[in-house]
């Protein structure tokens, strides 16, 4: 458990990062030759100015929340999973392929699609976990390599075997309307995927703080040598941590397919898996704060587009700021000894 002092320091760090982020956004606006007042007005109006805008912000927040929760789970076990992007992609592909080919009652089909997505993401994360457990392969490099492999594999599958029609683009066939996840906020793209993500966040919080599995996960992250001596298998935990981490990200990919795109295509993610690393870190690897961080980043992502359109400030400024925030947050202590889990 973190002491109150640690908590206070964490909150101060996040607030400091936020303040610096605001200064940087202002600087980026000035560099681009736009008035910061117009820029911020566009950012917040674009993100929160109406039902449509709020819905879109929550869509982005949901898409970031799933992979961020997965990343946090792995990171709490001392494993740096930067493969959420690939895990999202394979999860989305599995959901798209299943949804286009199964003929079931709608509720059952949704479960199959989401379950299939989680399974595919879990397998993808599990490959890195197995390589770590069996061979001691560095999971940072392995998960990143698997992102590129996932992009090639899904690109190949939707251009060939899983293509909707010979004349169509590289995507799976559209889902039957009955298979779509129900809309949460009328007249927006926001589906009940948000509720699923929040449920996963609650579940993750309970698992990490109230279960033996969660205790063992934190133990191998915080004191691997003590955990090993207490009889916890580091190999088994590494495999389980990366597989469950991937499953959560894969579920996220599936929810994007079932909730918004209603088919799989290779443009599923504009880099959610990478931005989610920043979300997880800003949220201090705590499921509750990650929900808040995901909403804040949803505002930046959605508002960033509006800022680009209205005030002519490149949206990529947002990604520069994410990077600066992550560098600043590196000063926080996350895990004791990350490199310790090797065979």
């Amino acid at each position: 458990m973190k002491s109150l002092m640690d908590r206070a320091r964490g909150a101060r760090g996040a607030l400091g990062a936020l303040a610096i982020a605001l200064v940087l956004i202002t600087a980026a606006m000035l560099v681009a030759g736009a008035s910061p007042i117009d820029g911020f007005a566009a950012l917040f109006a674009g993100a929160l100015g109406g039902t449509h805008q709020l819905g879109e912000t929550l869509v982005q927040a949901t898409a970031l929340l799933f992979p961020a929760l997965g990343i946090a789970l792995a990171f709490r076990a001392g494993l740096f999973n930067i493969g959420a992007e690939g895990q999202l992609l394979v999860g989305g592909l599995a959901a798209g392929a299943l949804g286009a080919n199964v003929h079931l009652a709608p509720a059952l089909a949704a479960v199959i699609m989401l379950g299939g997505g989680a399974l595919a993401g879990g397998v993808w994360g599990g490959i890195a976990g197995w390589l770590k457990a069996r061979f001691g392969a560095n999971e940072i490099i392995a998960t990143l390599m698997l992102n590129f492999i996932a992009a090639s594999l899904t690109g190949y599958l939707v251009a060939g075997p899983l293509k909707s029609s010979p004349a169509g683009g590289p995507e799976t066939a559209p889902l039957a309307h009955a298979y779509w996840l129900p809309v949460l906020l009328p007249y927006t793209r926001l589906s009940i995927a948000l509720l699923i993500a929040l449920a996963i966040a609650a579940l993750l919080h309970v698992v990490l703080t109230r279960t033996v599995f969660g205790y063992e996960l934190r133990a191998i992250g915080e004191a691997p040598e003590a955990a090993r001596r207490a009889g916890i298998s580091l190999q088994r935990m590494a495999l389980l941590a990366l597989a469950s981490s991937g499953a959560i990200a894969g579920l996220g990919g599936a929810s994007i397919v079932a909730g918004e795109l209603h088919r799989f295509n290779t443009q599923l993610s504009p880099g959610y898996g990478y931005t989610a690393i920043a979300v997880a870190l800003v949220g201090d690897l705590d499921a509750r704060w990650i929900c808040v961080a995901a909403f804040a980043f949803g505002i930046l992502e959605t508002g960033g587009l509006a800022m680009q359109a209205v005030a002519n400030i490149p949206k990529d400024a947002i990604h520069v700021i994410e990077g600066v925030i992550v560098v600043l947050l590196a000063a926080r202590r996350y895990v004791a000894a990350r490199a310790a889990i090797a065979s």
Partner: protein
């Protein structure tokens, strides 16, 4: 396979390996001093973009290459300060530098070139890029000799193993680490510059395509030695070249799936390297 095709394959192997060699040499020197440089990928992107911008401003790709080296060195210095003076989590800081550099290049494309996705074409080194290829191999030999034949090489390696002992001998380990990470960034920047104004004449988003991480895999596969890392980089370069050659020549091989070849090779190498190799004792541990 005809002889001409074999020659093409080998030439392409060296060409594709060169940027990875530069970055892997950077990764080796950094990890030998005890700092894991996860930011190699971003530093390559910074170098690639810096090279294109300076070339477009001056019309001289040699100036571009120098600018690329400086851009990489700058972000290496940032990571060096973070890892030594601020004692932050090196992996998190390196990841931040990756996001920052790749996002920053995309931002700078819009601000400086007023276009998204890729820069306009600039002058390239053309056939003069062969000198950079020669430089890559020369640097590999020189760095190997430096690490194992000179007193400062010994000190650098000792800092990666046991910085406390080196401090006791009267050398500031933090200063050496900061220098090593800065040089590491400069080498990654040079690798990036080779990609953008050596091999090509353009910067486009995502052009580093994980090469910084492949270079990290080469460091491990090469057992944290410059010559080993160079051989490993050649290996990965070979698979990239092979993928290039097979594309279009062998009809039944889908080109999308073939693009995964270098990454699959890196994953297999990573798994295969274990048991035979040992990282420097204090690699990744703040001092």
């Amino acid at each position: 396979m005809t002889l001409a095709l074999l020659v093409t394959l080998l030439t392409l192997t060296v060409l594709k390996a060169t940027p990875i060699i530069f970055a892997a040499l950077g990764g080796t020197i950094s990890e030998r001093s005890g700092v894991v440089n996860i930011g190699l990928e971003g530093m390559m992107a910074a170098g690639a973009f810096g090279a294109v911008y300076a070339t477009s401003a001056t019309g001289n790709p040699v100036v571009g290459v120098i600018a690329g080296i400086l851009a990489g060195a700058f972000f290496g210095f940032v990571l060096g300060v973070a890892a030594t003076r601020l004692k932050v989590d090196q992996i998190v800081a390196g990841t931040g530098i990756n996001l920052l550099c790749i996002g920053g290049a995309a931002y700078a494309l819009v601000v400086l070139f007023h276009q998204q996705g890729s820069s306009p074409q600039v002058a390239s080194l053309g056939t003069a890029d062969v000198w950079l290829i020669v430089l890559a191999f020369a640097l590999a030999i020189a760095l190997h000799a430096f690490l194992w034949l000179t007193p400062w090489g010994l000190r650098l390696r000792a800092i990666g193993e046991n910085p406390r002992a080196v401090l006791a001998a009267g050398i500031d380990p933090l200063r050496v680490r900061m220098l090593a990470v800065t040089i590491s960034g400069a080498l990654a920047g040079l690798g990036g510059a080779f990609l953008s104004v050596g091999e090509l004449n353009i910067y486009s988003d995502g052009m580093t395509a994980g090469r910084g991480f492949i270079a990290l895999a080469a460091v491990i596969f090469g057992r944290w030695t410059p010559l080993g890392a160079t051989l490993a980089a050649l290996c990965f370069g070979f698979f990239e070249a092979l993928q290039f050659i097979l594309q279009g020549r062998v009809a039944w091989l889908p080109s999308d799936a073939m693009q995964a070849l270098p990454y699959v090779a890196a994953v297999i190498a990573l798994a295969g390297a274990t048991g035979r190799v040992r990282a420097p004792e204090s690699d990744g541990v703040p001092f």
